[in-house]
Amino acid sequence: MNRIVVGAHYGLRDWLAQRVTGVIMAVYSVILVVVLLSGQPINYAVWRALFAQGWMRVATLLFAASLAWHAWVGVRDILMDYVKPTGLRLSLQVLVLLVIAGYLGWTIQILWR
């Protein structure tokens, strides 16, 4: 194997993905706050109608997908920094991936009920 595991470009994709997904979530957050604050006071009908719209469902799904990738890179970085025993770190990383997949699945279930 000629693969170089150290060097300046290893991990560039995750680094970039974390920033791009961060920007996507920032845009979504601003849109959501504007929509919530500019509309009528929130009651069940308003709340329900907001998430019944197709664009809102897709935007929220994009947000959730961005969040999943963003959180994975971030939590993995933290585990690499603080958890040194390989077995424990691997177990925690698997656990984190399962949690993220669970979050994503639940979000889709909530959006398309």
Binding site: V5, S29, Y44, G74, V75, I78, V99, Y103, R113
Partner: protein
């Protein structure tokens, strides 16, 4: 080559006592570690936030139950902490992206942007907190 870093033992001066009482972080360091702490907080709280979203969208009765649930001070306070975590994570994140783009890297502007992040995220938290109460 790949093993060189693994076998070389370097002295460590970090201890819990050093982390807690001896190392004094500059403001930018606080922004950074709070970015990390707020990220973990948001990740762990995802299950609770999804529960709130799930119930509130499930039915009129579910929405009402969440409204009642959110009237408890402890629940509001928990949500406010998460609102702060979100605002801080967002503001600090924007700062880090700008730093990545080599904007505001010199000491004076980096310090200034740290102060801005701290103040703006607290102001946003106060604003949303006022809406919550």
């Amino acid at each position: 080559m790949a093993n060189a870093t693994a076998t070389k033992r370097r002295p460590k001066y970090l201890s819990l006592q050093a982390i807690l009482f001896e190392i004094r972080l500059p403001l930018a360091g606080w922004i950074s570690i709070l970015h990390r702490v707020s990220g973990v907080l948001l990740f762990v709280s995802g299950i609770w936030l999804l529960f709130l979203l799930d119930r509130s969208l499930s039915s009129a009765a579910g929405f009402a139950s969440i409204q009642h649930y959110l009237s408890f001070s402890l629940v509001k306070l928990s949500l406010l902490v998460l609102v702060w975590a979100y605002c801080h994570h967002l503001c600090a994140g924007i700062r880090f992206v700008l730093l990545d783009l080599h904007k505001g890297v010199d000491k004076a502007s980096a310090r200034r942007s740290s102060i801005v992040v701290l103040i703006v995220s607290l102001a946003l938290t106060a604003y949303f907190g006022a809406k919550l109460w």
